[in-house]
Symmetry: C2
Amino acid sequence: MDTYKAIVSKRDVRHYTDQPVEGEVLQRVLQAGRMAGSAKNSEANRLMLITDQAVQDALVEAGDFASWIGSAPLIIGFASPAPLLRLFDVGRQAQNMMVAGHAEGLASCPVTLQHADKARAAVGLPADWEMPMIITMGWPVADAPDSPLKRERVALEELVRHNTWS
Amino acid sequence: MDTYKAIVSKRDVRHYTDQPVEGEVLQRVLQAGRMAGSAKNSEANRLMLITDQAVQDALVEAGDFASWIGSAPLIIGFASPAPLLRLFDVGRQAQNMMVAGHAEGLASCPVTLQHADKARAAVGLPADWEMPMIITMGWPVADAPDSPLKRERVALEELVRHNTWS
């Protein structure tokens, strides 16, 4: 898929079929995450690929708005040593993976895990590591309902300012 | 350009020609930022397009490692109301714009602005807004030196763990 088309058509989608995410498609998604830039080339993040139902169920308890994630075919968690946690870099890496997945037909959605201790325990991270963000990923269902938060994006004229605020 | 190819070949590059970034190419970069997802569809970020030399010079003072940014043809700043600042979403938006730009031949690099007050003053943001991250963007020079931090990426086998840490 054309890069621009993939980027501007990617939506965050939470409704997936039961089909697993695997093989070459998964490899390309992971490679997209691997090649994301990071501050000072620190590459501090590690990617937790989570398909085990017990681990997914434990992650449900780590987020305030995560009740639905237990049925996702794949969860990818972004684990970082706490002193090197940079959410900007996590966002870059997640977007690479979600856009690369979208170009393959995969749907995805980020989820915040507000409860650091529960997230750490769910995947057995070392005490000084954190996993505040995950993405869910799967093949989209044909008849997914729209998000109740769906709306038009802010217009470019409102989004962009030139040189100074006013 | 193919989506996967654009994503995995994007490098953070700081050396640009004097040629401005404008016209349809700039519109596509901005549209790529506009279409990035955000938590609860909040779309809190605003994009500051900075080409004015005096503003760029003021931004140099807002970052600890920003001495080089004053000569970039374009700086794009991510301004957010402080209570809605989500660096994960800023990273998603920045990556969309940098990958879309890369597909057009543009080079780019993120820069952290550690000094919030100086960043705010440089672009005249309201008191409760912040702009902790910017990207620089321009057309790459042919003979740019490699970054002193350049290295191979961490191998996939080291990057990825399955279900639990150990």
